[in-house]
Each structure stands twice: as structure tokens, then as C-alpha cells.
Assembly symmetry: C2
Homo-oligomer: 359 residues x 2
Amino acid sequence: MERLKRTIDAIPTPDRDRMALAQRRLDNLTKPLGSLGRLEELAAQLVGITGQDSPSLKRKVIITMAGDHGVVEDGVSAYPKEVTPQMVYNFLRGGAGVNVLARQAGARVIVVDMGVAADLKTADHVSADGMTGFRNCKVAPGTRNFTKGPAMTRDEAVLSIVRGIEVVESEHARGLDIIGTGDMGIGNTTPSAAVLSILTGIDPETIAGRGTGVDDKGLARKVAAIRKGIEVNRPDRADALDVLAKVGGFEIGGICGVMLGAAARRVPVLVDGFISCAGAFLAVALAPRVKHFLIASHCSAEKGHGLCLEHLGLQPLLDLGLRLGEGTGAALAMHLVEAAVRILTGMATFEAAGVAKKL
Amino acid sequence: MERLKRTIDAIPTPDRDRMALAQRRLDNLTKPLGSLGRLEELAAQLVGITGQDSPSLKRKVIITMAGDHGVVEDGVSAYPKEVTPQMVYNFLRGGAGVNVLARQAGARVIVVDMGVAADLKTADHVSADGMTGFRNCKVAPGTRNFTKGPAMTRDEAVLSIVRGIEVVESEHARGLDIIGTGDMGIGNTTPSAAVLSILTGIDPETIAGRGTGVDDKGLARKVAAIRKGIEVNRPDRADALDVLAKVGGFEIGGICGVMLGAAARRVPVLVDGFISCAGAFLAVALAPRVKHFLIASHCSAEKGHGLCLEHLGLQPLLDLGLRLGEGTGAALAMHLVEAAVRILTGMATFEAAGVAKKL
């Protein structure tokens, strides 16, 4: 708890003076005022986050947090829960979607066992090329079924967040300029929808989507499970730790921790999809200042995602109908963040290029 | 005219058999069915365009076509027309937005003088690193003011398209896997809006936007100029060459030619912004089969762009409020096209990864 509090207290405000300077530079580049739209906003935001006039984004990390969920026994997912550990191995072999897109982005992928319900046959390691790593941060082997009681204890909720902070700190020690969050956990759109429903005050039916592809009956079971979880546990929406403990998941807590830890070190965070959005809501509830350090990578195809991002006040960069999670959206959007910084630092000014200004 | 006809006749249909195979491969990759949304559609489209199971996208080109417009004398732009040649020099020195984003994409930038109203002090050349080049394809030093008569002759219209085809052919000889279109021409949102208004049948007021940033009065002059151009010239909307000649521009014709030439050689084309969209409408009007070879890179902030793309049946990949042109949106979107192909060719299948399939 002390660790969490210290991290929250360490989160700075963005560097507004430097942002104003960056905006002035952007306005003098050889292009009509504001004509690079979101890229210009992003460039200024990056300067505000990092406190650097020319932010470097060389050392990129996707942190993919894995966990299992007791509520899958209620038939809320289209896939068996064995897929969670199977996909962890797939990540470590480099065969998953996030690996492909992270390779393209030049980002390393750190897979974190936050609470997989299986004994993973691998120890903490980094691959020879440094581009894939594994960390065992298991809080417990899966959450409990929240339709029957809290998913985890309050202590476990805090621990999951602190473990996320610790992952950022050790990655920071290796060199870290930008983070993308990611998740893997069969069933995890259900706790995410529960968390988002509570924190936004929007009905579960409006928020819960088909996840990996449940049919109408599966979707009905999912909404019913969320309603029951809220009814049975009565989470206090003013207390983010209570919400996480009662209806959340270990990887959701871990993602929340990653965001807090990153903000405390002035590292920008690309928020992946629906599960990461739940982590972001928890992080912002715990520390409102964290919001400025977050960049919404995309709006997924998952039903309530766009609405929740709007609620959070984040505008997604991409809208490509993705719904894979893992950090795929974050990896894909890293290119746009880099583009923004390249524009800021690589374009000629009107004066230097001898180009006439507006009439 | 013979050259144009030959190119149009050479445009193939997409390879539907190979697309079906690609879809089968996508469905067997370790991800929920369809969960990579637009990336999966793009991957299949790329296979259909190229006729290759694993399309290579290594050799990328942004073709930035420049031209001037007689209608600027009616006060339709926020910038003086001297900026067109000034920006050409900026491109050749690598200082413009498109240079920065093309460098990031690993694409070379070929700047083409289609009709700049100045004697450019440079000859055809390619830079030492091969990443920037210039071609003189000048049809005439700027179009005539279309509020007083046709912008160009029908022969000039055909010539501008043929020159675009020739640029693709010479770039293809150097090695070419994907093209992004681009434009530079003070005033060119006005002829583009005129072309789009005629070909979509939508009122100029709904289509014309602020371009590089005209104020309300400038916008009113712009709409009035378009109305007058249509009234004075009575272009035949069933005859794309007539539309291009009467209210178009040399770079718009050139872009249309690039699209036709690329399709004839099974090369995918990323359509940049509003001006490129006008080129795309002309190309599709001349050769409907060209549409399958086009990928809309983004929806710009220019007023009628989204509506026109919808009319054309193209769904943009990005929507970032860009309105710079030059090929910036196309350069930015190349990353997504590459991502799509990497997903197709780089991910593990369920079987290879030992991951369980859907319940």
C-alpha cells in the first residue's frame, strides 16, 4: 500500500511550458497551421509527458499481462481457459499477433504472468536478442468466480497493481521510452466490462460485447454474470481498489499499475483495447493526473469500448475493428506516436525553407 | 489516347482464388476469427491485387505531383501561388511533411512537375541515396482559370493522365511494390472539389472545405468559383476526360494516371487525401476495375472528403484530422498495409502453436 501511495504521489503534471514551445515550433513548420491534426496534438503531448523538447522513442516495450478468471465457469467465453497458458507460450515463441506487430514497431514484448491458472513451465528470462521476456508476478492462480463472492482480496488487488509498477521499474532500468499495455486472459472482457460498468455508471448490457466471439446466449450469460457480480459484491464505485477486488482481474490490476508506474517516471503509455481501458479507468480513479500520460491507441470492435473511451476523455488514434487484445493495437499505434515526434523534430521551418507564409 | 486505352485494357481483376486461400490462412492463425478487423481485409486485398500469397512491400514510393491553378486569381486559397515551386524545392531538400513521413516508412519520394507555373531550377534526377527524385512532366505552366473557360484542353487532360502512367512505369523499372499518391498545388482543393462535385452529383457547398485555411469569405469565393466553373464550362459528368479538362488540374490528371498505371501492373495504391480522391474518382470513372487496387489511406479534415470516399466505396484506414496533402496520409498508412501483410505471413497457426480452438 505504501509503495502504491508513493508511486501515485510521484506522478508529475505535464510540462506546460515546454508544450507551448513545441506548439510554437509546430506552427512554424512548412505546412498550413494545424494541418497535421492529431499528429500535432500528439507531438505536444509527448513533449509535455517527457519534459523533453525532442522526445526519444527508441526503447519501446509492450507489456502483455496474463491472468485467468473464475467467472469463465459461467460460460462467458468462446474459448476454453487452457488457451491462456497456451497463448503465453505462443507469445514466448514469437508466434502471436502482438509479436508480429511489436517486431514491426521495434518493440520488445514482456509477458507477465499476473495470475494464470496453470503452472507455467518457464522462469523469468529475456530472449537472446532482448526482444521477448517473461516475468512471473503471479498473485494467485486465477481469480475466484465473482458471481459467488469477490474475485480477489483487497490485498491481492493492491498487490496486482504494485506488481505492475515493479514491472515498469525493472523495464525502466533496462531502458524505456514508451510502453504499450496488453492483456491475455480467457474471459477477461467480462471483468473488464464489470469494472467499466461500475466506474462509468453505464448499464452492463451497453458495455459488454462478444469478446472473442460468444454467440447471443453466451452474451446473455455474460451480462447476467456481470449483473450478479455487482449484486452479490456491491462494489463501492468511489473506491477503485474495492471495484478491482470485487469484480476485476489480476492482469487488469497489473495494467493499472503499469500506467501509474509509467506516469511516475514520465513515460508515455499507449492504452491497448477494452481490457486496458478498464485498467486505465482504475488508474485514473486512483490518480487523476495519470490521464495526461495515456494515449488511446485504438477503438476496438468490443461493444462498449468507444463509449468508455469517450467517458474517460481519450480519443483513439485508430479504429480498425480490432478485438484481439495482447497489445496489438498499442503496438500498431506506436508508429503514429513516432510519426508525431518525427514531424516535430524533422520538418523544415518556413524561414529555413524560404517558403512564403499565409496571405 | 492509344496509350491510355492500352493501360485501361491491361488492368486485371483481383485474384479471387488466392484471396480465398489467404482468408483461409488468416482464419487458422492464433487469434479469434476476424479479430484483426481491417488488417485482415487489407491482407486479403493485397493478395488479390498482387496475385502473390506473400506480397512483398519493400520498395515503396510516394509520388507527389505538383501543379498550379489559374483559378487562384479568384482568391480561393490562403497561400500565394509562389508556394507551389517553393514547396517543390522543400521536397527536394527533404524538409517537408511528406519527406519526414516517407523516411519513417522507408519510401522514396518522387516529385513530379505536372504543371507548376514557374521554371523550376532543377532537372530530372534521383538523390545519391535514391530516396528523393524529380521528374519534369510539365503539361503547361498552370491551368487556365476555369471560371472563364476550360482549365485545359482535352488533349492536355489526356496527356496529364498519360504522364502519370509513364511515371509509374519508370518507377516500376526501378523496383516498386506499393505507391502512395500525393499532391502539391496552391489552390488545388478548388478544382478537386469541382471534379468531386460533378462526379458525385453533390452540391459544391457540401464538398468544398477550407483547404489550407481560407476564412469564411475565402470559402464563399471558392464555392462561387466552382459554381461558375460548372456553369461556364458545362462539363459532361459521363465523360471523365471532359470533367478533368474543364475544371480539373494537371496534378489531378497525373494522380489519376498513376492509379491506372499501378493497377495495370498489379501494384497497390494508397490514396492520399482530398486531391487524390478526385484523381481516384476520375480513374474509377475511366476504368471501374481500378477500384480494387486502391486503398484509402485516411479521411482528411477537408469538408467533403469523408462523404466522397463513401460515395466511391472506399473506407479510410486513418482519421487523424490531417489536411496537408503531399502524400503525408499515404506515407503514414503504409505502416498499416505492411502490418496486414506481416500478420498474414508472420503469425503462428493454431496447430503449429498447440493452441485450442473455439469451444
